[in-house]
Symmetry: C2
Subunit: 206 residues, 2 copies
């Protein structure tokens, strides 16, 4: 059965997220995927290429998801932001290892993630992002939102979405209780509220 490749990818994803690129061990990936270590080299030419494949395939999915929401003429800005946050967080929840890998390797000396992001943004993302920016500008002109910078807003949304998944471990220090499933749902709502209330205009503004 040739789902060996898929099992390798799944277990490698976990391994990279737990130990980082440099700490990841090809032997442990093979063991967890129940394949021989040499099999990894049968499907992937090297550790580098295995890593790059994971980053590229997962990131492509995010852009595809985003592309369905950022479609001209469908939603007003408020609903668009709501959908973006839902879709992004749901995707990350279904791929919990991915944000961890990315925040481990996006800065620093590993050139692969930045290279892949750059390529995918140019290939798929640029139009979507530009559309979001135009919608923000329009809402500003219509005085539906205050005078924000669109880039800053997008950046804040992404920050809030991703950060949850990388700081789960710390949270347990404060939140002993944690109904687990509820925690994510509450977080999602808190982010949406913060962003949407944070964008609203105030009459006492310049």
């Amino acid at each position: 059965m040739a789902d060996s490749r898929q099992k390798i990818i799944e277990q490698a994803t976990r391994e990279f997220s737990e130990y980082g690129y440099n700490g990841a061990r090809m032997q442990r990936i093979a063991d967890k995927a129940s394949v021989n270590k040499a099999m990894i080299y049968y499907y992937f030419s090297s550790k580098d290429q295995l890593f790059e494949t994971i980053i590229r395939e997962t990131f492509s999915q995010i852009f595809a998801t985003l592309g369905k929401i950022l479609v001209p003429g469908q939603l007003d800005l408020e609903d668009m932001i709501r959908q973006m946050i839902y879709a992004h967080i749901d995707f990350l929840a279904a791929n919990r290892d991915f944000p961890k890998i990315l925040l481990r390797e996006i800065h620093g000396k590993n050139p692969i993630p930045l290279k892949v992001v750059r390529e995918l943004v140019n290939e798929f993302g640029r139009d979507n992002i530009m559309y979001f920016f135009r919608q923000v500008e329009q809402a500003k002109n219509e005085e539906k939102i205050r005078n924000v910078d669109a880039m800053q807003t997008l950046w804040s949304i992404i920050a809030l979405n991703i950060f949850y998944f990388v700081t789960e471990p710390i949270l347990s220090i404060f939140w002993q209780s944690s109904d687990a499933a509820d925690v994510l749902e509450n977080r999602k709502q808190a982010i949406i509220d913060l962003v949407l209330y944070g964008l609203l205009p105030r009459k006492d503004e310049e």
Copy 2:
């Protein structure tokens, strides 16, 4: 001259942030600090202990800074949040490698950062955090802010502050310009605005 220890810490901090704990090389740290590799083992018993020292010493400074702001009876919530964001971001700006190390190692299998955070929270942080929570509750009662969860709010603030420093590299993909110094100042203001506007009550609320 015995500032060898300090030079080792400085260069090790950079090394850990660039390559991750597992990717960091004792030889490279020694070279960059212009000391012999054996010197590292003269001052620190192991790679683990060198790493733990860095995490503990830097984190202690953050709690000390926070402690000066979260002093009962000094500031109202709005100014307190403003000061927190300023102080936190300024600290991170002066210690840029630290947030990178932390987000690399706080999740995953490296037990050291979580252990240190837990110890320092219990030692210094608990009271400060509780004071912040009480201030939020009070502001809610006085209807100065909407009905937010204090924990979620703190979490969002920290997320926005830290995320900037970890995603600088990606941003350059979109923001070719970047007046460098201005970027951070703009980001700081965007975060403060988003959080403070996001907390304000709305009359059309339940």
